[in-house]
Symmetry: C2
Subunit: 198 residues, 2 copies
């Protein structure tokens, strides 16, 4: 007995989702068809709607429905500081701190040679053009402190410095409320290296 | 800054998938929009297509494009034996053994009080009607040997026995090639209890 073809097509299609293998794709398809047809229909519409109505912001590269995202269009922010993050979620996280009043650039990814993501797949030219608008003075690299995020930051630092821009990196160190006893050695070592004079 | 609404709608919609929480929904949405728009579009179509063209087989309850699935429509199978499985994948697995030539009934789930799945959510009436067609002699319960699958089998055994049907359960025991040294105690104990005379 063959699996009916619309079902196997759905199972195959679900595998485009990151982290979803054949087993979970099958489980998802069964769940949607048997238990949540309304949710499945909503998902189909949300996908189609997002694909037609979202694009990358012309300035900061995040997802937006308009030419410019709300943040790029917002007046009264510091145009001299450009904070570079990996994903829109990082931008939101940064905004929640209320500690940064400059502009952003969202890479929509990170260098990850193992996953086949090289400099060409990240919007580096767009960042370069953005950073060289004549107003930006400092580029603050706020990629994650993962291997990929660090590699991306190093690469970008080289690239941007050759264009005569001031480049900085957010600090590593102990978290607020962090105790020396419970922090890992490399974070502690880094916190020591990056100590500030008081 | 708010997340643009088609994006947050997509993230919400992805959460209908089993095992997908807010974080992975976000990661999936970004991935689809940034790296695989073709895949996303295919997924939207596959969902819509599966929803319109698939239904439950009138006899065995599995997914099919027609009134009866291929297996129920197939001639030359033993109509006296009815094998009850949880999901279509279990049916396929059973067919691969080439050891069963009877008919199937697919529950499309299992009793799982913790997930709010009670007898009403599983198609027990449909199974009862199917098993009482006057031809079926034996119902072979082939639900999983998980807590839920076992509970489902016990419940069904009671229900079907009161209808005067012969009910059996597939055997527990050591796997083919299994070594006593490496099998868990409860499986070994069960294999002892369910020993066959030679």
């Amino acid at each position: 007995m063959k699996t009916p073809s619309p079902l196997s097509q759905l199972i195959d299609a679900l595998r485009v989702l990151p982290g979803v293998g054949p087993k979970s794709a099958q489980r998802m398809a069964y769940h949607l068809l048997q238990r949540d047809q309304a949710g499945a229909s909503q998902l189909a519409h949300a996908l189609a709607n997002a694909l037609t109505s979202l694009r990358n912001c012309a300035r900061c590269n995040t997802f937006t429905e308009h030419e410019l995202c709300e943040l790029c269009a917002a007046p009264g922010r510091d145009d001299q500081q450009l904070c570079v993050v990996e994903m829109p979620a990082d931008l939101l996280r940064m905004e929640q701190t209320l500690a940064f009043k400059g502009r952003y650039f969202v890479l929509m990814g990170r260098l990850s040679p193992l996953d086949g993501v090289g400099p060409g797949d990240i919007h580096f030219e767009k960042l370069l053009a953005r950073a060289q608008d004549g107003v930006v003075q400092e580029v603050i690299l706020s990629t994650n402190f993962t291997v990929e995020g660090e590699a991306t930051a190093h690469y970008l630092a080289e690239l941007l410095r050759t264009q005569g821009l001031r480049v900085s990196r957010i600090a590593r160190g102990l978290p607020v409320g962090g105790e020396l006893e419970h922090v890992d050695s490399s974070t502690l070592a880094q916190a020591l290296i990056e100590r500030r004079s008081l």
